[in-house]
């Protein structure tokens, strides 16, 4: 193919890896977003001591390299004898990491809704959950969604690090092929990079577009 010794079999192998990359991204985003929404809600409206201690714990997740978190949790679960498979370990760690960022996004989104608007809702007779769903959610989404899309892309790129615990995702699979065909390193890496780019670029454009469109409406 392309006048090189890269075969269709290699491409299929990399595509399988790409599928795994997307699967890990999906599960990590699902878990991370659910936890992030809960934590964000708590952080936005709890007394300072809850807010502060929660912030510290989540800050640790953001200040330690993800790679080290993968290795640490992986060895921790084997010390406890849980015998989780690497894919699950990858998803769990990445979800925890995602939740730390998602918490800040949700908190920022809630705090971006003017308190006067929320008081107006409450004085119209809405209860807390009505205020949350009809007032805070639509207004906060404009602030949150662009950052959330950015976070998703960040997580997708960070899945490359599950390499460390032995999940054969896109970058690892290209690395395996390179080990076999070192003289084709450039071609193989270019294909891997192109796959990442083709997934990431359109989504990042969409995020930028939404951000611009919603800012004009303000």
């Amino acid at each position: 193919m392309l006048g090189t010794s890269v075969t269709w079999g290699d491409i299929t192998f990399m595509m399988t890896g790409a599928g795994l990359t997307l699967a890990i991204t999906f599960w990590a985003m699902l878990g991370g977003t659910l936890a992030g929404v809960v934590f964000g809600l708590i952080r936005a409206q709890s007394p300072w001591y809850v807010n502060y201690s929660m912030g510290t714990v989540l800050d640790v997740l953001r200040s330690v390299p993800l790679l080290i978190q993968f290795i640490l949790f992986n060895s921790f679960q084997s010390i406890l004898g849980w015998g989780m498979n690497p894919f699950v370990v990858g998803c769990v760690v990445l979800a925890a990491y995602t939740s730390a960022f998602c918490t800040e996004i949700v908190r920022g989104g809630i705090l971006a809704v003017p308190i006067t608007t929320r008081r107006a809702a409450r004085s119209l007779g809405m209860n807390y959950w009505q205020d949350m769903t009809y007032i805070v959610l639509p207004l906060g989404t404009r602030v949150m969604l662009p950052s959330w899309i950015g976070l998703t892309l960040g997580v997708m790129k960070d899945t490359a690090l599950v390499y460390a615990i032995g999940v054969i995702e896109l970058l690892r699979s290209s690395q395996i092929i390179i080990t076999r065909k070192p003289h084709e390193a450039l071609v193989i890496l270019a294909i891997a990079g192109l796959i990442y780019f083709l997934v990431s670029f359109p989504v990042s454009r969409l995020g930028a577009h939404l951000e611009k469109k919603w800012r004009e409406n303000d």
């Binding site: 390299p65 690090l161 780019f197």
Partner: protein, 241 residues
């Protein structure tokens, strides 16, 4: 669920602390150098993206989009495996056989691969940050400077840039922390002198994975906190009116 059949040996990890702190110094060194290169290139890219010359614009856009839409690990790989491959192709095209001459240009040291890769990544992210910062500087500032007799370059350097740096100082601090955390991927190209690399070497010798990496995590955390705290202090000193 929590029956631990394992004895923690923290002493072993603490005994290796000096070695790991030496590694932390290398980590910091890579991060700082990559940030300096990234800031210089980032300003150039931010300006180039608004340039009137189309090829210059395309070059900047390509750099920024590749840096932002692919994993940092991919970029480091591209440098580590790619640059030697390109050199080989170029040399082959000119009919030069370096290997026969006994010069090995086809091998890139992992330290340099990580440094260049992270600098490339930093430049792409910082360029976008700087572009936002440049937009925050009112154009009247440039016009005022020009009407006072500043040249175009002097006005940019002395009037626009300082104001831009004030606007982007906080995102730049974040990028610095990112750069520190990113250096840990050096382990994938065989870097064994930075904090993660040293930890991995110790781990390979003792199999005390959890203890060593927990200590490394603590060191990374402390470094990140010192950097953000230091940056806050610098911002307070520099940017008060």
């Amino acid at each position: 669920m929590f029956d631990i059949n394992y004895t923690f040996h923290w002493n072993q990890a603490f005994r290796a602390l000096p070695q790991m702190l030496d590694g932390a110094l290398i980590t910091l060194q890579i991060a700082v150098l990559s940030m300096i290169i990234g800031i210089v290139l980032g300003v150039a890219l931010a300006v180039a993206k608004e340039a009137r010359l189309a090829p210059l614009r395309w070059f900047a856009v390509t750099w920024i989009e590749v840096a932002r839409n692919t994993p940092a690990l991919f970029q480091v790989y591209m440098i580590y495996f790619g640059i030697p491959a390109v050199l080989q192709l170029v040399a082959g095209a000119f009919g030069i056989n370096f290997r026969a001459m006994g010069i090995n240009i086809f091998y890139l040291d992992s330290y340099w691969a990580v440094l260049v890769g992270i600098a490339f990544n930093n430049a792409g992210y910082l360029a976008e940050t700087f572009r936002g910062g440049l937009r925050a500087v009112p154009p009247t500032q440039t016009r005022a400077a020009r009407s006072l007799g500043f040249g175009a370059f002097a006005a940019f350097r002395l009037i626009v840039l300082p104001q831009m740096f004030r606007a982007v100082f906080h995102p730049m601090t974040n990028q610095m922390v990112w750069a520190i955390l990113m250096t840990s991927i050096g382990i994938f190209v065989g870097l064994n002198t930075d904090l993660t690399g040293v930890t991995q070497e110790l781990n390979a010798r003792t199999f005390r994975t959890f203890e060593f990496f927990a200590l490394a995590a603590a060191i990374y955390y402390v470094i990140a906190k010192i950097v953000t705290g230091g940056a806050r202090l610098i911002a307070w000193r520099l940017f008060r009116y």
